[in-house]
Every structure is written in structure tokens, then in C-alpha cells.
């Protein structure tokens, strides 16, 4: 069997497609309808709702293909049975970016690590950036089966940029609420009655197809088809070259057969038998090229036949400018499939198998799985799904797994560990952890029934998913066994030679590394993440590489603060290079940069990176990463002396930590700083409760942070001797953790305690010890966090071996004394005063502000007076300027809480 080589798909030339769909091949240019659509798109939304065969798509193609269109037209045809909102929005985005793409072209694979909300935002901004008007046509909307996608489309329509128009075409009224648009008279509708051919058009159509028919014949044909476009087209094909057209019409008019079926049967009957067979055998696939058609039909000239059918307008259309891909009109395809099952039933399973093989070879796994299921080959289908699950997750197409699984009968996963695995991956991706756990347990229970050659691989897949699950739910302590299993089974690369094996391994390394990072085993994390990143690079998986690198920006025994910061920057740069810098997975790197900048006293720089981290983090960030970001926000506020805001941020961090089953490596510091901040704000009882709630760790990991907080409480209690006693262990370095941060803090607190005991020499020695520890990485945040006027005074007259560092410290802590005082006053702004302050930069009058806030003008006046007094401002612009300096009006450091 000769195969027609697949031709390269080249650029699309509108005129060529126009030739394909307009008068040149017997399709009527329906001027009235085109005008109707022109009128329609003067409104924001046009809905075309009519049964199959009404001529919706033909109208849209003819309209979109006109060279006179003033607007840019983006044409999206929804794939059959589309379940994935990702794929849908990617297709929309692609159509808007590349209006020259063929109408029916399959959308490119969704980009890696994709967030639907981001894609929709991109669609909006692409439209907004275009100069002229845009018309977005969405054809076959009834094929969109994702409720989420429909809901997103609904909200997209209500916030449509004013330069955009949307045309929705569907067999049924779309299940989208349009009442707002309707009320605003922003919806035009075109329905079946509008699409019907008039008798005049019927005649034009026949004349255009060179068919001679009497007036009576035309009238009878029009009456019998009721102007139904598909009926007329089918009739025209059968009439073309018919020896006795009048008799055909008379017979057709006289029959009481359902007209669609009658005309399709007639049309098929008039084709040569080899064409009939080819059409029947290829009816199982949604789209085909010559090669696939040859494979199914067992011929070598299918492409020629398909081209001829398209020329004859026989319900076969090419999908690209080169005319290499074709599809049947859906109505005819439906009929052909029935006819195939009726007349060639025995061949059907084998045809499905052949189609599946070809599609899988050509990368269309989703369709391949559907055909295997249709052929009854569930085990093969299940294996195909399981083998691709990890790849889909890695490519950000986890939604695809869910879509493919719908092809299997309910409960099929009970018998197939592969399917249970794929289900688990899909559930995990959607955050349904309990369901994922159940499916994983099911897969695990099947391990021993699996054939030996497959068992090992299944075991690794199960363990890898368990690890991902543990990572999501923060069960840090429970992953040790899994790590052991994966380490041994992956140590021997020969056991998994395929690229697929490498992907599985890469994902496992990433998950191990992330868990180890958050649970503070940074040396192990370093090993696993480096290996994962290197592997990802070898197998060309940018998302995986970026994900690994994004978790390597933390200092440890082996990695200095400077190196960690440099690495985090490199991770971000890498993400930027791959266009992945807006994904939640990069948040830890951004958070790490922010954190180190804040440690080094670069507060503005830290604030900028933290803002960026929150921007990408979105709602889907792992709770463990959220802990990091809240903690950084707390440090920033504490460093700036904004105790109230620091308290809020540390509380958020503690809340995020409580979502984790395991203990985050930052947990002791967060608890300690939260308690210290509470103590400094005079909330002694709360501080003690915070410390009491921290689980006692027999290994005293990170207990220095807790001791430091105890010391702060002792100092505020007026008991410096007790503070020194608490600090002795930390200061000896026994519990030092991380880059000396806690140790520096302990020395500084001890210095304050000595001062209060009147021992200036001991205080100086402690301060010098703090400076010595801080020197290497220039960690100066602790000096700002302990905020003590007496310590500042000591430092101002301090003789030190670390002059440059001390200068930096004094610059940070001492140079902003006036600001600090002002800040303390600004912190005293009440919530209502802050709300009013938020309106001062706007040009709203006091009356308007009162209306906005639903309060009286007197209330607003009082608030504004208080705001001026607390900010030391004389007028509105001075107040705004002062508030900006004090960052009371800067961008938010933490996202608004959900709900």
C-alpha cells in the first residue's frame, strides 16, 4: 500500500478558502443573510441558533472570508465533544493571535503549565491591544461540554472590550445567561427561519449549479425541503447531471421519507461504489488526510477522491489551504457511520483499531484512546492513558486526562490499575485529594495482578503520585518511605530506558525535592532538585526544569545567602526565557529573592519582588509556598517597624502552616516572630498562647527562634536576667539554623538585656558577636527587627571590627527615626480612617467619598481631619504624599483574603 506523504501545512491564504466555500463551487452567496450578519455584529453579541444543516457554518465562512471585512475576524471551530476549558480558551487565543489560521485547524497544543484564567486574561489583553474592531466567531458551540468553559465565556461576554464583537453559533440556544446584554439591546439573533432559503435563492442555487428545472419543479423542491439548506444542497448534488431532474423532484416530493435521510441516501447512491466504500470506512474519524483515509479504506488514492468530492461540493470540505485535511459535513458523517455499522458491522472494531494506531503514532492520543475504547480494547486504551498521564501533567494539560477518562465506562478503573492511576492524577490536579487517595489505593491494590514487566513501572508511578499527594497536603514527614522506594527503583536507569521513564523520574525528583525543601532537609533537596533539573533539560521539559530550579533559591549549610539569591534570580530568568514566569510554580523563587533582599535590608527591592510573587501565586499556590510569602511580608513590615501589619502577615503565615500536615521549616521562626510581635504590641497573653501552641520538638530543631521570642517576652516583662538565661543555649550556637539569622537576633536581644542590667561591656560584646555573625551575608534585618532605642545608642558609639556593616545597619535602623515616629502614629489610623485615606488620591470630592462609603459628609470630614493630624499634613496633597512615603497607599503586599 502506498502512502501519500503528509504535506507541510503552509500559511493560509484567505482567497483560496473563499474559493472553497463560495460561489465557485456551487454555493450560493446569500447576500441578504450576509447583510443580516453585518447588522448583527453592530451589536456586541450575535447568536446563531439553528438545527444541523441550516447553513450556519457556510454563512459564517462566507462572511469571514469576504475581502471587504472592516474588522479583523478570529474564527474558532469547537472540536467535537470538547471537554477541556484549557483547550477551548487556547483555541480562542490562538485564533485572535493568528487570524490567518484555517477555520478548522486543530488548535496548537496548550502551552505548558497553563492557567485558564491567565489565558482568558491574555485573550482580553490581545483584543484590547488590537487597533481596529475584532469579531470573534465561535462555531459549533454546542460541542463545548465543559460547564466551566461556558461559565467563563459568560463572564467574558459581560466584560468584553468595546472594540470586540462575538458571534456564537450553535445547534441549540447556548446555556449562557444573556439577560444583561439583552436588556442593553446588545444581542442580535439569527434563527432557523432566517437561515431558510427563499424560493428565489433556491432558484439561484440551482442555476449556479447548472441545473435546469421548471418553475414548478423549483417550487416543489423548495416546498418539500422547506428551504432547509442541507436538503437543498443534497438535492442539488443529486440533480447535477441527473438524466431527468423533473422526475427526481417529483419522486422526492411524493415520498413521505424523512427528507435528510432520503437525500443523503440518494446522494450516496449516485457515487461510484469505491467512493461509497471510502466514505463509509472513513466516517469513524472526525477529520482525515489522504494517508489516514487510505489506511482505513484500504486504498491508495483517497486524497484524489476527497479532492474530487470537495470540488463537487459533496459535503466534503478541506480544512487547510493546501487541501490535505478533510472532513465530512457532520450530518452526512452521522448518516455514514450508521450506514457503516449497518452494512459493514464486522469491520468496525478493526477500523477503530487502525485509526487508533495511526492517531497514536501521530500524537493524537486523545482520539486514539476514544477509538480503542470504541473497539472494545479497554486494556490497551487504559495503558495508553496511563503512559501519557505524566506527560499531560508536565505539559499543563492535566485537564486532558479528565477528558479522556470520560471515554471509559463508569467503574472501569476497578479492573484496570492504569486507569485508576490516571484518575488519581486527574483528581490530584483538580485538588480533590480524597478522591485521589482512593484511586491511588485502588491502583496499589492491583499492583500484584499486573504483568511483571509492567509492575515495576506501575509501582514507581503509584509512589510518585503518592509523593505528589503528600506534597500537596504537606505531609512532609510521611514521604521518607516513598523517597526510599523511588530512589532504589530509579537508581538503575536501565530499568526504565524510555523517555517516559525519564519524565516519571523527573516528576518524582521534583516532588521529593519540594517536600525536602519545605521540611528543611535542604542538602537532600539540593541533590534531588539539581538532578531533576538536569534531567528535565535533557528530555526537554522546560516546565519541570523551571519548577525544580524555582525551589533552589534557599540558603543552607552548603549554600550561602548570596549564592541562594543568585540562583533564585537564575530560576526567574530561566522561567522568563521559557515564558513561564507567570506560573504559580515560580512563586518560591520570587519569594526567596524577596526574602533575601529583606534580610539584607533592601526593603524596597524586597517589596517589589514580593509583589511579583503574590501576582503569580494566585489561589493555586501550594500552602507551603504561601507560608514563605506571608513570612517574607511579615519580615518586611517588622523591619519597617510596622508592627500591626507584621502581626497580620505572621498570623497569615501561621494559618497557611496550619493547612499542612507536616511542619514547615519556617514554622519555628514564624511562631517565634509572631509571638515576639505580639509581645512588642503588648499582647502578652496572646504571645504566650502562640508559643504554647508550638509542638515541642525533641531535637529542638529551630528552637532558637522560640527561645528568642521567650526572651522578648522576658524583656517586656522587665526581667532581663531571665531573658539572658533563655538565650544562653541559642547564643552558644547549639540550635543555630539557617544563615545565622536566629543567632544574630539572640546576640542582639542579649545585648539589650545586658544594657538593662547596666553591663555595657557585656552588651558591646554581644553586639559585636551579632555583627560578626551578620558580616558574611550582610544580614542586617535582625538589627531592625529588635528595634530598640538603647541598642541604637550603643551601636552609635560602638567600636567594631565590622565598620562597613555597622554603617549599613545604622543607615537602615538609625536613619529613619523621624519616619518611625510618624509610622507609629500612622499605624494608629483606624480602619475607617484608612478607608477614607484610600480615596484621597482620587479626584472624588468629600461629598462623593461620603456617597461611596455610604456615610455622612460630617463623618468623612472628621476622618479626614484625623488623617491629616496623624500624618502631620496640612492638606490633601500633602497627606497623600506622606501616606505614599509611609507606604500606607502602596500596592498591597498580600492578596485580598478569599471571600
Amino acid at each position: 500500500m502506498t502512502r501519500v506523504p503528509t504535506r507541510e501545512r503552509g500559511p493560509y491564504v484567505p482567497q483560496q478558502v473563499r474559493r472553497g466555500v463560495s460561489g465557485a463551487r456551487g454555493l450560493l452567496e446569500r447576500k441578504d443573510l450576509l447583510r443580516l450578519l453585518d447588522d448583527g455584529v453592530s451589536k456586541r453579541l450575535t447568536v446563531i441558533s439553528a438545527p444541523p444543516g441550516s447553513g450556519k457554518t457556510s454563512l459564517l465562512r462566507a462572511w469571514a472570508g469576504r475581502s471587504t471585512n472592516p474588522a479583523r475576524v478570529a474564527f474558532v471551530t469547537i472540536e467535537r465533544d470538547q471537554q477541556s476549558e484549557q483547550r477551548f480558551w487556547c483555541a480562542v487565543l490562538d485564533a485572535i493571535r493568528n487570524p490567518e489560521r484555517p477555520f478548522d485547524a486543530a488548535p496548537p497544543p496548550a502551552p505548558i503549565g497553563l492557567e485558564v484564567g491567565q489565558v482568558i486574561d491574555d485573550v482580553r489583553s490581545e483584543i484590547a491591544e488590537l487597533v481596529g474592531p475584532v469579531v470573534l466567531i465561535i462555531d459549533d458551540l454546542h460541542e463545548l461540554k465543559s460547564a466551566d468553559a461556558l461559565a467563563q465565556l459568560e463572564s467574558f461576554l459581560t466584560t468584553l472590550p468595546s472594540s470586540a464583537r462575538v458571534v456564537l453559533s450553535s445547534r441549540r440556544d447556548p446555556s449562557i445567561r444573556l439577560h444583561h446584554l439583552r436588556l442593553a439591546d446588545d444581542v442580535a439573533e439569527i434563527r432557523a427561519d432566517d437561515l431558510r432559503f427563499t424560493e428565489h435563492e433556491t432558484r439561484e442555487l440551482l442555476v449556479g449549479s447548472a441545473i435546469n428545472l421548471s418553475d414548478r419543479g423549483v417550487a416543489a423542491l423548495h416546498q418539500r425541503t422547506e428551504g432547509w439548506a442541507a436538503g437543498l444542497r443534497l438535492a442539488a448534488i443529486s440533480l447535477n447531471g441527473h438524466p431527468d431532474p423533473e422526475r427526481f423532484v417529483a419522486e422526492f416530493s411524493g415520498t413521505d421519507r424523512a427528507i435528510g435521510e432520503y437525500l443523503m441516501a440518494e446522494m450516496l447512491e449516485r457515487q461510484p461504489s469505491e467512493v461509497q466504500t471510502m466514505l463509509l470506512r472513513t466516517s469513524l474519524v472526525d477529520r482525515m488526510n489522504g494517508e489516514l483515509a487510505d489506511l482505513l479504506a484500504g486504498r491508495s488514492d483517497s486524497e484524489r477522491m476527497l479532492l474530487a468530492l470537495e470540488e463537487a461540493n459533496a459535503f466534503v470540505v478541506s480544512l487547510d489551504a493546501q487541501r490535505t485535511w478533510f472532513r465530512c459535513h457532520q450530518l452526512l458523517a452521522e448518516f455514514l457511520r450508521l450506514e457503516l455499522r449497518r452494512t459493514l458491522a464486522a469491520e468496525v472494531p478493526d477500523l477503530h483499531r487502525r485509526a487508533a494506531g495511526w492517531l497514536a503514532d501521530h500524537g493524537d492520543v486523545v482520539q486514539a484512546v476514544r477509538h480503542l475504547v470504541a473497539a472494545g480494547d479497554w486494556p490497551d486504551a487504559a495503558r495508553l492513558v496511563a503512559d501519557h498521564s505524566f506527560r499531560w501533567v508536565l505539559d499543563g494539560q492535566a485537564g486532558t486526562i479528565h477528558a479522556v477518562l470520560l471515554a471509559f465506562p463508569e467503574g472501569a478503573s476497578v479492573d484496570h490499575p492504569d486507569l485508576a492511576l490516571a484518575h488519581a492524577a486527574a483528581e490530584l490536579n483538580q485538588g480533590r485529594l480524597e478522591e485521589a487517595t482512593a484511586q491511588l489505593a485502588l491502583a496499589e491494590s492491583h499492583l500484584y495482578n499486573a504483568p511483571p514487566d509492567r509492575r515495576q513501572r506501575l509501582a514507581v508511578a503509584v509512589a510518585s503520585l503518592q509523593l505528589a499527594l503528600a506534597r500537596r497536603s504537606g505531609q512532609f514527614s510521611e514521604v521518607i518511605d516513598l523517597v526510599g522506594l523511588l530512589d532504589t527503583s530509579m537508581a538503575d536507569p536501565s530499568s526504565e530506558p524510555s523517555v517516559m521513564g525519564s519524565e516519571l523520574r523527573g516528576v518524582a525528583l521534583l516532588n521529593i525535592g519540594i517536600v525536602e525543601t519545605w521540611s528543611g532537609r535542604l542538602v537532600d533537596a539540593e541533590r534531588h532538585l539539581s538532578e531533576g533539573a538536569a534531567l528535565a533539560r535533557t528530555i526537554d521539559r522546560p516546565y519541570l526544569e523551571v519548577a525544580c530550579r524555582a525551589h533552589q533559591g534557599f540558603p543552607s549549610k552548603l549554600i550561602s545567602v548570596t549564592t541562594a539569591r543568585e540562583r533564585a534570580h537564575q530560576a526567574v530568568a530561566l522561567a522568563e526565557r521559557y515564558g513561564l514566569d507567570d506560573r504559580p510554580i515560580i512563586a518560591p523563587a520570587l519569594g526567596a529573592i524577596a526574602g533575601t533582599a529583606i534580610w539584607m535590608g533592601e526593603f524596597d527591592e524586597g517589596e517589589r519582588w514580593l509583589g511579583r510573587a503574590w501576582q503569580v501565586a494566585s489561589a493555586q499556590v501550594d500552602p507551603a509556598a504561601a507560608v514563605l510569602l506571608h513570612q517574607a511580608a511579615g519580615m518586611l513590615h517588622a523591619g519597617r517597624g510596622q508592627k500591626q501589619s507584621a502581626l497580620e502577615a505572621f498570623t497569615e503565615a501561621a494559618n497557611a502552616q496550619s493547612l499542612l500536615t507536616g511542619v514547615h521549616f519556617l514554622a519555628p521562626r514564624i511562631t517565634g516572630w509572631l509571638a515576639a510581635t505580639q509581645a512588642r504590641l503588648g499582647l502578652r497573653e496572646e504571645a504566650l498562647t502562640t508559643l504554647a501552641g508550638f509542638p515541642a520538638d525533641p531535637q529542638r530543631m529551630g528552637s532558637g527562634a522560640i527561645d528568642n521570642a521567650q526572651a522578648v517576652i522576658c524583656l517586656t516583662d522587665g526581667d532581663p536576667a531571665a531573658a539572658l538565661a533563655v538565650l544562653s543555649e541559642s547564643r552558644a550556637g547549639a540550635t543555630a539554623f539557617g544563615p545565622g539569622f536566629i543567632l544574630i537576633e539572640a546576640h542582639l536581644l542579649a545585648s539589650i538585656a545586658h544594657l538593662r542590667l547596666g553591663d555595657r561591656n557585656a552588651a558591646s560584646a554581644a553586639a559585636e558577636a551579632a555583627l560578626a555573625t551578620a558580616e558574611r551575608d550582610r544580614v542586617i534585618l535582625p538589627f531592625a527587627m529588635v528595634e530598640s532605642a538603647e541598642l541604637l545608642d550603643l551601636l552609635l558609639h560602638h567600636e567594631t571590627a565590622h565598620r562597613a556593616l555597622l554603617a549599613d545597619v545604622l543607615n537602615l535602623v538609625g536613619g529613619t527615626g523621624a519616619d518611625r515616629e510618624m509610622l507609629a502614629r500612622a499605624e494608629a489610623l483606624s480602619p475607617s480612617e484608612r478607608r477614607v485615606l484610600g480615596y484621597l488620591p482620587t479626584n472624588l470630592t468629600r461629598h462623593e467619598i461620603a456617597q461611596e462609603l455610604h456615610v455622612s459628609i460630617n463623618t468623612v470630614n472628621t476622618h479626614i481631619r484625623n488623617v491629616y493630624a496623624k500624618l502631620g499634613a496640612q492638606d490633601r496633597s500633602a497627606a497623600v504624599q506622606r501616606a505614599r512615603q509611609l507606604r500606607l497607599l502602596s500596592s498591597r503586599l498580600v492578596p485580598a483574603p478569599p471571600n
Binding site: 441549540r172 413521505d256 435528510g260 452521522e334
Partner: protein, 69 residues
């Protein structure tokens, strides 16, 4: 929400041929006048909507749908 199994009659414009009828294997066809009546037990809502979708996909004209038992 689930609809108990029911006996339904579906009336479609025109006489259906063997091909179109093969789309409704579980329903019994009967020709009355120039319309086709398909009658049969439909297990639940999904089965019912499955039949309706098939009618739509074949471009058939649905005239009436009735549950008779």
C-alpha cells in the same frame, strides 16, 4: 433528580429508512400517516437525552415526545 424508567413515544416527521432507524435500536418504529412513531422503554434521563441528541444529529424533525407509562 433521576427519572424512573418510562415508556416513551417519540414522533418524527417523515418515514425513517433502515439507516436512520438503526440509530434507535431500542425503540420500536411504527408508521402512522406520514410520521414515524418510535416507542420503547428508556431507562433514565441519559437514555432519553441520548435519543434526542441522535434525532438532532441526523437532522430529523422532532414533532412530539410523550411518556406513556
Amino acid at each position: 433528580m433521576s427519572v424512573p424508567p418510562g415508556l416513551y413515544t417519540i414522533r418524527i416527521r417523515g418515514r425513517l429508512g433502515a439507516t436512520a432507524l438503526s440509530a434507535f435500536p431500542s425503540l420500536e418504529p411504527e408508521l402512522r400517516g406520514s410520521d414515524t412513531f418510535l416507542t420503547g422503554l428508556l431507562e433514565d434521563r441519559s437514555a432519553l437525552f441520548g435519543v434526542l441528541a441522535q434525532i438532532e444529529a441526523l437532522g430529523l424533525e422532532l414533532i412530539e415526545l410523550r411518556q406513556i407509562a
